[in-house]
Symmetry: C2
Subunit: 235 residues, 2 copies
DNA sequence: AGAATAGTGTCTCTTAGACAGTATGAG
DNA sequence: CTCATACTGTCTAAGAGACACTATTCT
């Protein structure tokens, strides 16, 4: 413990190894996917794990900035939605010793980072439902599951999942996205009704062109980020 | 500290200072209170702040164990409910340099730790509504506010606040507790109805004795800890 | 016209809000 | 008895589920 007047030196302390990791979700081909990075260094060299790493004290003003910096390096863009999930820490989660990871989860539209990811080999989108915890580095499998559960809750009482879509999207796309996240179908009418009543979307005036009736294109209002419905959708 | 090919030395890294802190809530005299500890060391020596401190790598198996150990030292007991709130980290929150704190929030019945706290002078319960952020060490004022907001949400969709009551309690006590946490009055009938329907309480068969009709005493079922109502109470 | 997709009308059912009413004890 | 507190009955309103219906485009 610190002796008062004496100068403080962090290396006098038995500090844990502290890192920041992120679970970046997107949806593509009706599947929920998560970004994985192939590790170059020990431990778990060659294995796939979450994008993240050490804090750079000069470059990162806070934890979220650190997470965003790492994600930018891997995807080429800053995610439009990021939120802290939890921190995992313990004596046995890293072979190098007592370690802590502060974990964020984030959402991004697949089209917005496709080119960057296609250009490298050590980054890939993996379907969440195809993952087994054992194939991933550290406790990253368990962390992805926790992030998925949190995202499922969000899909039941908010429109946060919209940030995994392009800037402009249709009601049907948003509903399909929620359905993929929570793993069930939803009633079209209930879904539209609650979002319309809460006035969370802006009608862009534009429409899609495709087979069938054109669909109106919407954007999320800024307040959609924090809005919470009083009643959950039933899962 | 297993060294693989290249020996790993944590002191080669620019690691942040990592601590664990807790926001321990209780209710007494119809007021929501939080546990504060007077700091003995720099920085902020003499100021009041959250109970917490450094991880002891030998003693703490994980982050939650660390938080519980610190709370036990200050209150004499392990809290019946504890959950991670968030982690705060940044270059400027601690004058010693880049630091991270992993924050838990916890609940305890006032009566269960009264004797231990009354016996020391560097620990006190402080009414949450009387706190100004400026009088506390670090960013602890802001953290307490975030913890309070999270607890308010919990009070709207769960019966987690019950863990701030003694083991056996009445419906009226539970409702009064929820009202103190969210800062409004609630409808008696609605409150009882939803809890009864969800079957979250065990009737102990006992009753209170006091002026007026005796009230039945209940305990929380284990599943009450994780239960989430589909619909929030209106705040 | 017919197929495909977008979007609406409307009935039911559940449950929270409101609040008046009844029950059961102490003094 | 009265008073205080616990607990219930019951009406109303909001909103989700269900699902049949209409609308608008394409080929």
């Amino acid at each position: 413990m610190a002796k008062s007047p004496a100068p403080y030196n962090i290396h006098d302390y038995d500090v844990p190894l502290t890192t920041v990791d992120s679970v970046l979700f997107t949806v593509h081909d009706e599947k929920l996917k998560v970004l994985l990075v192939q590790r170059g260094n020990v431990p778990f060299a060659g294995k796939w794990g979450l994008p993240g790493g050490f804090i750079e004290q000069g470059a990162d003003a806070d934890l979220e900035m650190c997470a965003i910096r790492k994600l930018k390096e891997k995807t080429g863009i800053a995610p439009p939605y990021i939120e802290q999930l939890l921190s995992q820490g313990g004596a046995n989660r890293d072979p190098r010793g007592w370690s802590v990871t502060i974990v964020f989860y984030a959402l991004v539209a697949h089209v917005n980072c496709e080119p960057h990811i296609d250009s490298v080999t050590d980054v890939q989108w993996r379907e969440v439902s195809s993952l087994s915890a054992k194939e991933l580095a550290f406790d990253h499998g368990q962390i992805i599951q926790l992030a998925h559960e949190r995202l499922q809750q969000k899909a039941l009482y908010s429109i946060v999942p919209a940030y995994a879509l392009p800037n402009e999207f249709t009601f049907t796309e948003l509903q399909a996205l929620h359905e993929v996240i929570i793993g069930t179908t939803l009633e079209k009418k209930s879904f539209r009704r609650r979002i319309e009543k809460a006035k969370l979307l802006i009608d862009t005036g534009k429409s899609t062109v495709a087979r069938g009736r054109p669909a109106k294109l919407y954007k999320v209002k800024p307040e959609g980020r924090a809005y919470r419905f009083v009643r959950n959708l039933e899962s």
